[in-house]
């Protein structure tokens, strides 16, 4: 009995020590390298602009899906997320209507391809971007969310909601330089592009997930 109690007394601090070591490992800070910038389009996605935000599964069993009627085991279990948001377009090259708006549908999934041990929490996504009067394209992105885990899990694990301002560049692929822009049509037709995603979180909790955040998808042509 003493052996079992001793093992448990050692196991818990050992596991905690390993988690702290991973979260504070300076080799994996969670910031993706910035890609080359160029003429293009900047899509700033603000929470308050959302026409409708839908999470078929938040990725955490204790966070409810929105709306509840969407819940299905194969979506819930695989932790997918769908968002339909409005975005403002700004700056960029000749192809973008400056300071206009765009329709974006984004579907994404946390995958098992990332290794948290090496600072990887990989989310794969496809963006469907429609710029009225301009054209449309798809963006395939691969983002590393380790930065979120590293800087926000500890405060939230202590029972406190995260409140602050943390910014991350998250895109790491699938191609060198960022996300792949494909299926371009309208005024974007015939161009080649890449993308990178920056995200800023202001408020999050373990119960509700990220509740106040802003994302910027920069698409360079």
């Amino acid at each position: 009995m003493r052996i079992i109690i001793g093992f448990i007394l050692g196991f818990i601090p050992g596991a905690l020590a390993a988690v702290l070591l991973m979260l504070h490992n300076p080799m994996f800070d969670g910031d993706a390298p910035r890609g080359a910038s160029g003429d293009g389009l900047e899509l700033a996605v603000h929470g308050q602009d959302a026409v409708n935000v839908v999470r078929t599964s938040s990725g955490y069993p204790w966070v409810p899906s929105e709306p509840a009627s969407v819940v299905s085991p194969n979506i819930e279990g695989t932790r997918s997320a769908v968002r339909v948001v409005l975005a403002s377009t700004a700056g960029g090259g000749d192809n973008a209507p400056a300071n206009g708006v765009a329709y974006i549908a984004r579907v994404s999934t946390l995958t098992r391809e990332g290794r948290p041990l090496f600072g990887e929490v990989i989310e794969q996504s496809m963006w469907h971007v429609v710029v009225p009067g301009g054209g449309s394209f798809f963006v395939v992105g691969e983002d590393d969310l380790w930065g979120f885990v590293r800087r926000m899990v500890l405060p939230m694990a202590r029972g406190n909601d995260f409140r602050g301002k943390v910014a991350f560049d998250t895109t790491i692929g699938p191609v060198r330089g960022g996300g792949r822009v494909i299926g371009l049509s309208g005024e974007f037709a015939g161009q080649k592009g890449s993308s990178e995603l920056s995200q800023m979180v202001r408020r999050a909790s373990l119960v509700e997930g990220v509740t106040d955040a802003e994302s910027t998808l920069r698409v360079s042509f």
């Binding site: 003493r2 052996i3 109690i5 001793g6 093992f7 448990i8 007394l9 050692g10 196991f11 818990i12 601090p13 050992g14 596991a15 905690l16 020590a17 390993a18 988690v19 991973m22 026409v51 409708n52 839908v54 078929t56 009627s69 969407v70 194969n74 979506i75 279990g77 695989t78 932790r79 997918s80 769908v82 339909v84 409005l86 206009g100 708006v101 329709y103 549908a105 579907v107 999934t109 946390l110 995958t111 098992r112 990332g114 290794r115 948290p116 041990l117 794969q124 496809m126 469907h128 429609v130 009225p132 009067g133 054209g135 449309s136 798809f138 395939v140 494909i182 299926g183 049509s185 309208g186």
Partner: protein, 188 residues
Amino acid sequence: MRTSIIIGFLAGIAGALALAYTAPFLPHDRVRSETEVRNNGGRFEQFEVAGSADVVSLLPAGGDAQTEAVPSGARWYPDLAPFSGEAAVYRLRNASGVVIGVASRVKGVESPDDVQWVLHIPARGTIALKGAGIGDAEIGSVVAGEREFAGLVGEWQATAKPNGGWRIETLVIVPEPPASLQAAGDRS
């Protein structure tokens, strides 16, 4: 006692590192894909949107007073008023009716008949479709895919159901590699 604490401590470190390496907390339940291989080597697969119960969100085209927005009261942002298209997000099912993912559909991007779909199956990947509407049907080609659908080319057809659902059929093939790569393969 001291020895068991030390062993427990080391086991705790090893266990946490093993969990962080394998990430078992991200399960992917893959429903067996119901594909049918055609004579030309193409892979045929059918997807379904069962009906109004599968509508996650729906923004009807401006001026369409008969179609009800989901959720109720949702509307296009005023600055998008020049965009006369319609957009929807659905739950996506396989041919057997099992929910396997989600689908996004946008119509009227460049012209009233222009239509685009994104089919997202978390356990398998994503496929993007572009085409045009002809009556109650929509046809077009596969423009992009990722993960299991990466590199595939092919065509698709979607047929509207009276209850608001859709039947989406895809026929895809893996394109022939360039002749230079084939020659290299033959030499090896």
